[in-house]
């Protein structure tokens, strides 16, 4: 199947109604996590859910468009990270397609792989666009590492990986669990779900 064919095949009406829900879930669950004062973001749960249910392209679009819209209406810092969110959706969808989202330990491993995949772009955006900070709690890690003699780039690398690893693993496990838990009547309408539910 060619790239444009696989692209078009994914964007059915079913997928198009799911994507806005995924975007809004990113925002609302992210705010829930910060209301519970948890040290994780959980703001890519919707992206991963769409990627698992529909596929990599829909996941990528959910992440990209979501960060762009969120950046435009509330937090402009989110907009440049749209590229990072795109990678999260794309890689999650590809991993699910490769059968790496069937068991809980596979979901855990996939969370690690997603972190490694997003790191290069996240590091570049953070280091060069924002001068190493994003105005969040993770800035303390960067500041500390600079203080103990790390250079800026190295400090940002450690900050990005440390703050994303736990978050992406928990998000991947949560998304996997939710897709497993959804009624068959629902998942039967989404082709991607077959590869997760089995």
């Amino acid at each position: 199947m060619s790239l444009s064919q696989s692209f078009r095949k994914e964007f059915t009406t079913q997928a198009l109604v799911l994507i806005p829900v995924g975007i809004v879930l990113n925002i609302v669950v992210g705010q829930l996590a910060s209301a519970l004062k948890l040290p994780i973001f959980l703001d890519s749960i919707g992206t991963m859910l769409v990627a698992l249910l529909v596929g990599p392209w829909a996941g990528a679009l959910t992440g990209f468009l979501g960060n762009l819209i969120w950046g435009l209406i509330t937090d402009p810092v989110a907009a440049p990270f749209a590229l990072v969110a795109l990678i999260i959706g794309l890689v999650t969808g590809l991993l699910a397609r490769a059968g790496l989202f069937k068991r809980w330990w596979q979901a855990l491993l996939s969370g690690v792989i997603v972190t490694l995949a997003l790191a290069p772009v996240a590091i570049l955006v953070r280091a060069y666009l924002f001068g190493g900070v994003t105005g969040s709690g993770a800035d303390f890690i960067t500041g500390y590492l600079l203080k103990v003699g790390q250079d800026l780039f190295g400090a940002v690398v450690v900050t990005v990986i440390a703050s994303n690893l736990v978050d992406k693993v928990i998000t991947a496990l949560l998304a996997w669990g939710i897709v497993k838990y959804l009624p068959k009547r629902f998942t039967a309408r989404y082709h991607g779900a077959e590869r997760v539910v089995g």
């Binding site: 829900v21 809004v24 879930l25 749960i45 402009p76 001068g131 800035d139 250079d151 009624p183």
Partner: protein
């Protein structure tokens, strides 16, 4: 429905409000590109000499400055600490206090980054303040944006307040059942699942009806859509966009040649 859209649009009557939406989008885009291509502190100049006077002409200078301040203050604080105190390139000490020294090189870099961000944010906010999302989507669709993508953007904006309300209801319902949302980290982590799972499952299962309703109205039919509203592009708008693009290109080329 319109009043429920969570957007930044501020209704008003001004020259800027009347411009074709894509002209203002071009302005924001060109300003972002020029700000990052221009050297050193010149992004501040773009903000001060272009965006602020334009905002003032539409009586939007005050909200714009307030939004800039609120958004950039935490970033500015973090940048001054991380770059000003700890940037390895710091040699010239401006201020010393205890074991900490504020370096000139790091501070200059912090101000450069902050200027670029302030300029990009200012240009984008001016566009969002003066452009109704409905008018923007109409204009984009006339230019060939697929209707599916239009649906995604508008539907997201409409869904957000509804889902926020549902999150508040879930929160209140689970608390009424005795769920603890405060305390140690394990306690708060345990509260996560009872909050997230009903919210996510409910939201996902709702989509079934929406898909049926859209399909019943020919949503996936091929071909161009006819819009009830039309956005008028004018000759002066076209000239303005050309000038903006040429200006941004000149700044980028000048940045390269340096």
């Amino acid at each position: 429905m319109d009043s429920e859209l969570p957007t930044l649009f501020k209704p008003g009557r001004s020259w800027l409000h009347d411009r074709y939406p894509l002209t203002k989008l071009t302005y924001a885009g060109c300003l972002v590109v020029a700000g990052f291509a221009a050297p050193g502190l010149s992004a501040w100049l773009l903000l001060g000499a272009l965006t602020l006077p334009l905002a003032a002409s539409a009586h939007l200078a005050r909200p714009l400055l307030r939004a800039l301040l609120w958004t950039l203050a935490p970033l500015a604080a973090a940048l001054v600490v991380v770059q000003g105190l700890f940037n390895p390139a710091n040699h010239t000490v401006l201020l010393a206090w205890g074991g900490l020294a504020l370096g000139q090189e790091g501070l200059a870099y912090a101000l450069t980054v902050l200027g670029r961000l302030a300029n990009a944010l200012g240009g984008s906010l001016l566009f969002l303040y003066t452009t109704h999302p409905g008018r923007l989507m109409t204009a984009l669709q006339q230019r060939g944006l697929p209707p599916g993508l239009t649906y995604l953007i508008i539907s997201t904006l409409q869904l957000l307040p509804l889902m926020r309300r549902r999150a508040r209801q879930t929160w209140a319902a689970q608390q009424a059942r005795g769920l603890r949302t405060q305390g140690s980290l394990p306690t708060r982590l345990r509260a996560l699942l009872p909050m997230v799972v009903p919210l996510v499952l409910g939201a996902l299962l709702d989509t079934e009806e929406r898909a049926l309703a859209l399909e019943g109205r020919g949503f996936s039919l091929p071909g161009r859509r006819t819009s009830l509203l039309a956005e008028q592009d004018t000759a002066s708008d076209r000239r303005l966009r050309l000038a903006l693009l040429v200006g941004a290109a000149l700044v980028v080329i000048a940045g390269w040649l340096r």
